[in-house]
């Protein structure tokens, strides 16, 4: 009776996963088991009871010393969940396609150009990078000429941004589990997300300046200032939270595994 009982005599709890695994407090009592005698509740109960039992058997048969992380098996646990989610979206798609009237537009008129030409909204960031004309320097060496045309400059800006994003996984492997653990990288990420938004707004600057009381140069400056402000605020807030977070983390860790 010494192994499968939780420690109540003041000795240190065993945290290395050895010994028989006791039932957790989620497991039903005998009176609760007797109430579930029929129907779906019985089936559900048997299913989870069996999976719990299999889990426990697996834990005891395992060679690993650290046994507290054993994933759910793909069949049936994961598959049933995935099928449920798939059925939900399939049902929604069938319902919408059957019940909502389709829009049948008239044929396009090749002789008239639309007033506003834009890509789909998720490409606005790339479209905005084509509008960096004020950043393309006029070189005195070339007599006020630009080294590359504004169009080429915009395309190169796309390559630069995509290149920087592609480099991030090689610079940081993502060991931090929460932003507060690496405030600098979190600030970079927030700045990047905000820049993706502001550069997308810059892509529709003709619509923005027509709707809101803001001029083109102001919008252009905000496009690059807002990401910097967001990154700065993120960094300072996370840096401030860091000490308290590390204190909590250490306290929990040493409560779980007392130092020898």
């Amino acid at each position: 009776m010494s192994d499968d009982e939780p420690n109540t005599d003041g000795t240190e709890p065993r945290t290395d996963g050895s010994g028989i695994v006791p039932q957790d407090d989620q497991a039903p009592t005998w009176s609760e088991r007797k109430q579930r005698t029929q129907g779906l509740s019985r089936l559900t109960y048997e299913y989870f009871e069996r999976s719990r039992r299999e889990d426990e058997d697996l834990r005891q048969a395992s060679d690993y010393v650290e046994r507290d992380v054993l994933a759910f098996p793909t069949w049936p646990h994961e598959m049933i969940r995935n099928l449920a989610i798939t059925s939900f979206f399939l049902g929604a798609m069938f319902f919408i396609s059957a019940a909502v009237p389709p829009h049948l537009p008239g044929p396009a008129n090749a002789n008239s150009t639309p007033a506003v030409i834009l890509p789909d909204w998720y490409l606005y960031w790339s479209f905005g990078l084509l509008k960096l004309t004020p950043l393309n320097p006029e070189l005195t060496l070339l007599g006020g000429e630009k080294l590359v045309s504004d169009r080429v400059y915009g395309v190169v800006a796309n390559l630069v941004v995509v290149g920087v994003i592609a480099m991030v996984p090689f610079l940081n492997k993502g060991a931090a589990r929460r932003p507060v653990e690496e405030p600098g990288w979190a600030a970079l990420g927030v700045g990047g997300v905000v820049f993706a938004f502001t550069i997308a707004v810059l892509a529709v600057k003709n619509l923005v300046t027509a709707t809101f009381p803001i001029s083109n140069p102001e919008l252009f400056d905000l496009t690059f200032l807002l990401p910097l402000v967001a990154a700065f605020v993120t960094y300072s807030v996370l840096k401030t939270m860091r000490e308290g977070y590390m204190f909590e983390l250490n306290r929990r860790y040493f409560r779980l595994r007392p130092p020898k």
């Binding site: 929604a92 319902f95 919408i96 019940a99 909502v100 009237p101």
Partner: protein
């Protein structure tokens, strides 16, 4: 708590899809014009009237259902737990 979220979410998606189907037929001017929340037709037939009634019902079903399961019931439970804690301490 996760159960209550799923119930509210089911109400939102299920009721919202019915609302959207009716609105797409009856309160949509055109693809380019106002969609889903335009004025209903002046002289709806009997079936359209029924559908518009169902549209109103689903509107309030979604609003009250989501409010009840995502805000009302959790707040009530938190309050009860807080009061019980207070009484126990």
């Amino acid at each position: 708590m996760a159960d209550e979220f799923a119930k509210g979410f089911a109400i939102l998606t299920g009721g919202g899809m019915v609302w959207m189907a009716i609105s797409a037929w009856l309160t949509t001017e055109s693809f380019e014009g106002t969609q889903l929340i335009a004025q209903p037709p002046e002289d709806p037939g009997t079936y359209a009237q029924l559908a518009l009634l169902l549209r109103d019902v689903t509107t309030w079903f979604v609003i009250f259902g989501v409010f009840a399961f995502w805000i009302g019931i959790p707040v009530f439970r938190e309050l009860r737990a807080y009061l019980e804690d207070d009484a126990g301490a």
